[in-house]
């Protein structure tokens, strides 16, 4: 909310936003943006202007003037998204931004002047951000929000903090482009007020009886007497980006460079926040099928687009597209704070990073369930000793603690086989017993009782086996001493 009437404001006016967004595709051809509801041309490019088209024309008369006219339907979402992106970029260099949908952006310059050391320097910084976009843009500065907007709407490109200059510019403005209601403009005409200059001379009390309340507040705003309510832009908490492809893509390989572009956006988003991401989700919107959604995890928090692309490329090897992709959504719900590089820069860190990178790569290619960590459980039954863990439980630090305790625990038996059969198989070959028996009788408390006599044995081929005998005197092989 904004109640202050004395700061310097800048208004950026972008009347041709949708056309500018499409410009890459249709450059030289005359093209217009057409709004069907009001049957009007709302945006047009230079080529169309040269052909004699003008704003507010109907579709029929516009298409008569040219046979190769490119007509696109007006969609406000495009402009709004572009404004959001623009505001997001500007947010890095200026603090107070308010989006004025669908055509403009307010910037409060006053509180930035001290930081940048003057209006000219501040504007220079802004221009650098804006120049990336290549939009057709008009701008003006003034000591009131409405004045700045009105000036910019007159297709001015002017930045000044001199009150006299601003005032003289304002006097040249026409009433039609201000936010005053059309009926009220008509009324003002009747009483002889035709320019803004005339209007501003009149005391506000004189106007109040003639004009509607909305128009009076506009006039008061223009005089710099009334505060204006603005909602300042706040950058979103989570990262979400949708990229519409210029043409449909069927091949995964061709998709990767496009994904790279999305990731570059994420990279700069994370970089300025000094943050990293552990997982991102990618949605591939298919033309004729349901979108494919993929959550990409990394064992190590990452921000670099190249690192992410590496993992994504591996994951995508196993994905097949059912139909062509027309758009990509990239989401990053949760970001991690990057902490300061701990301890030794050279030794420990590099292997840790390498190990985590390796883990991410393996999981991306093979799937989570195929990459396992081993855990030891303190149990006498050989079936229960081993536990294979996939990533989730394993990343905790409590695992490490329990491991160190286990490895020093004295309860380990010597001479356990390196390989255990998942299911014991009946013994078929001839063996010599080397050692034994060792009776394991356990598990009567949890429905998996065993009672076995284990032996170390060697068969004629030289393989050393771990055998057991059941109370029924049946012999089984349960492991190999590798």
């Amino acid at each position: 909310m904004q109640f202050d009437t004395s700061s310097l404001w800048i208004y950026l006016y972008l009347p041709n936003l949708q056309l500018d967004l499409q410009r890459n595709e249709v450059d030289t051809k005359p093209s217009i943006i057409y709004e069907p509801r009001s049957n009007q041309v709302v945006q047009l490019n230079q080529a169309a202007q040269n052909l004699g088209l003008s704003l507010g024309m109907g579709l029929a008369s516009a298409s008569i003037l040219s046979n190769e006219l490119v007509i696109t339907e007006y969609k406000q979402e495009f402009a709004n998204q572009a404004l959001q992106r623009l505001a997001n970029d500007l947010y890095l260099v200026t603090s107070d931004i308010a989006i004025d949908e669908p055509y403009g952006i307010y910037l409060r310059a006053q509180n930035m002047l001290k930081l940048y050391g003057g209006l000219a320097e501040y504007w220079h910084v802004l221009e650098q951000v804006l120049s990336k976009y290549n939009f057709r843009m008009y701008y003006a500065s003034a000591y009131s929000v409405n004045v700045a907007k009105l000036l910019a709407k007159h297709h001015l490109r002017f930045i000044s903090d001199n009150k006299e200059v601003i005032r003289s510019r304002l006097q040249k403005c026409t009433l039609q482009l201000s936010d005053i209601d059309e009926k009220d403009i008509e009324k003002l005409h009747r009483v002889g007020i035709k320019t803004l200059d005339n209007l501003l001379i009149q005391p506000i009390s004189a106007l109040a009886s003639r004009l509607s309340r909305a128009s009076v507040s506009v006039v008061a705003g223009l005089r710099g007497e009334a505060p204006v309510k603005l909602c300042f832009y706040q950058p979103p908490e989570t990262y979400r980006d949708y990229l519409e492809l210029l043409y449909d893509i069927q091949l995964i390989d061709k998709l990767l460079p496009v994904i790279k572009r999305c990731l570059d956006g994420l990279e700069s988003y994370l970089l300025v926040r000094n943050a990293l991401a552990l997982n991102i989700s990618l949605q591939l919107h298919q033309r004729e099928h349901e979108p494919i959604e993929q959550v990409i995890n990394s064992a190590l928090p990452l921000y670099k687009s190249a690192d992410w692309l590496d993992i994504i490329a591996l994951r995508f090897e196993s994905i097949s597209l059912s139909s062509a992709v027309y758009g990509i959504t990239l989401c990053c719900e949760k970001i991690e704070k990057a902490d300061i590089c701990e301890s030794d820069f050279f030794s420990e860190k590099s292997t840790h990073v390498a190990a985590m990178t390796l883990l991410s790569r393996l999981r991306a290619k093979l799937g989570k369930q195929k990459v396992n960590l081993l855990e030891y459980c303190d149990d006498y039954r050989p079936e229960n000793v081993n536990q294979y863990l996939s990533e989730k439980q394993s990343s905790g630090s409590q695992l490490k603690v329990s491991q160190t305790k286990d490895s020093s625990a004295p309860s380990l038996f010597n001479d356990r086989p390196g390989l255990l059969l998942s299911e014991p198989i009946p013994l078929t070959s001839k063996v010599t017993i080397l050692n034994g028996p060792e009776r394991i009788s356990s598990g009567w408390w949890d429905d998996a009782p065993i009672e076995r006599d284990y032996f170390l044995a060697q068969n004629t081929k030289g393989q050393q086996l771990w055998l057991f005998r059941t109370p029924q005197d049946k012999w089984y092989v349960h492991g190999y001493f590798i």
Binding site: E348, S350, T351, A354, A355, T357, L358, L359, R361, L362, K365, L366, K370, V371, N372, L373, L374, E375, Y376, P382, V385, N386, Q387, Y388, L399, K400, Q403, T404, D406, S407, P410, S411, L412, F413, N414, D415, R416, P417, G418, L419, L420, L421, S422, L434, N435, G436, E438, Y454, L456, Q458, K461, G462, Q463, Q464, L465, G479, Y480, F481, I482
Partner: protein, 229 residues
């Protein structure tokens, strides 16, 4: 002929690859005889081909070397072991389990891919892979990956064939003879193939008394239980 070569060597006119720095540092195997035969131990990095039947002590022969290497706390990766790997055994051999990664690949291609990735990542001190056969090209890839990542890549197979012609750093054939393992060096990078010799690889506990070490443990458990009551 031989004396001529000997003379030349004495005058230091013959240069051999074994004098390269990269071959000078070896990883002690923990078995005296084997160390001697291998000029001090396993190479620092490379593909080691071990052909033997499953269960004649092939892993126990190479693990002590690994424990020596494990001080740098890098990963040990086991790729598609033929059966379940036993954590109790690894702990007993002195391998920290948080450094162990097990990959259960579906196909041989996947297994080899993971082996190559692990080997060249630099994050692993050893990679163990069980495969029936290995193509020349695949072996070469693994060997180069292992050297790049400074990692020992063990390739276990039960087939005797093709043991000599693979481009590996070291190739061993193992055969169990009672308490000893007969080791035959088929090929090594800085030396000659050697005729079979025997290495003693006994069980840890004395024959006839597997419970001797175990009893201590069970006693301590009993005490703990009593203490609770």
């Amino acid at each position: 002929m031989k004396s001529l070569l000997h003379d030349l060597q004495k005058k230091q006119l013959v240069w051999t690859a074994s004098s390269l720095d990269q071959h000078k540092e070896r990883v002690a195997t923990g078995y005296h005889k084997l160390d001697k035969a291998l000029h001090g131990g396993f190479p620092q990095a490379g593909l080691v081909h071990v052909s033997s039947l499953t269960g004649c002590g092939e892993l126990r022969l190479v693990l002590p070397a690994l424990v020596n290497m494990q001080k740098d706390a890098r990963l040990c990766v086991f790729i598609t072991p033929p059966h379940l790997l036993n954590s109790e055994f690894l702990l007993n051999e002195g391998i920290a389990l948080e450094r162990v990664l097990i990959i259960q690949a579906d196909s041989s291609d996947e297994a080899l891919w993971s082996a190559e990735q692990c080997a060249k990542s630099g994050a692993c001190s050893a990679v163990f892979i069980w495969q029936a056969t290995l193509q020349q090209l695949q072996a070469k890839k693994l060997e180069l990956a292992a050297i790049k990542g400074q990692c020992l890549n063990f390739f276990f197979t039960s087939t005797q064939q093709q043991s000599d012609n693979l481009p590996v750093s070291l190739s061993l054939s193992l055969q169990r003879q009672n308490e000893q393992i007969q080791v035959k060096i088929n090929k090594q990078k800085v030396g000659w193939p050697l005729p079979p010799f025997k290495v003693k690889l006994p069980f840890k506990s004395k024959l006839g008394s597997p419970m001797r070490q175990g009893r201590q443990a069970s006693q301590s458990n009993v005490i703990a239980l009593h203490a609770k009551h």
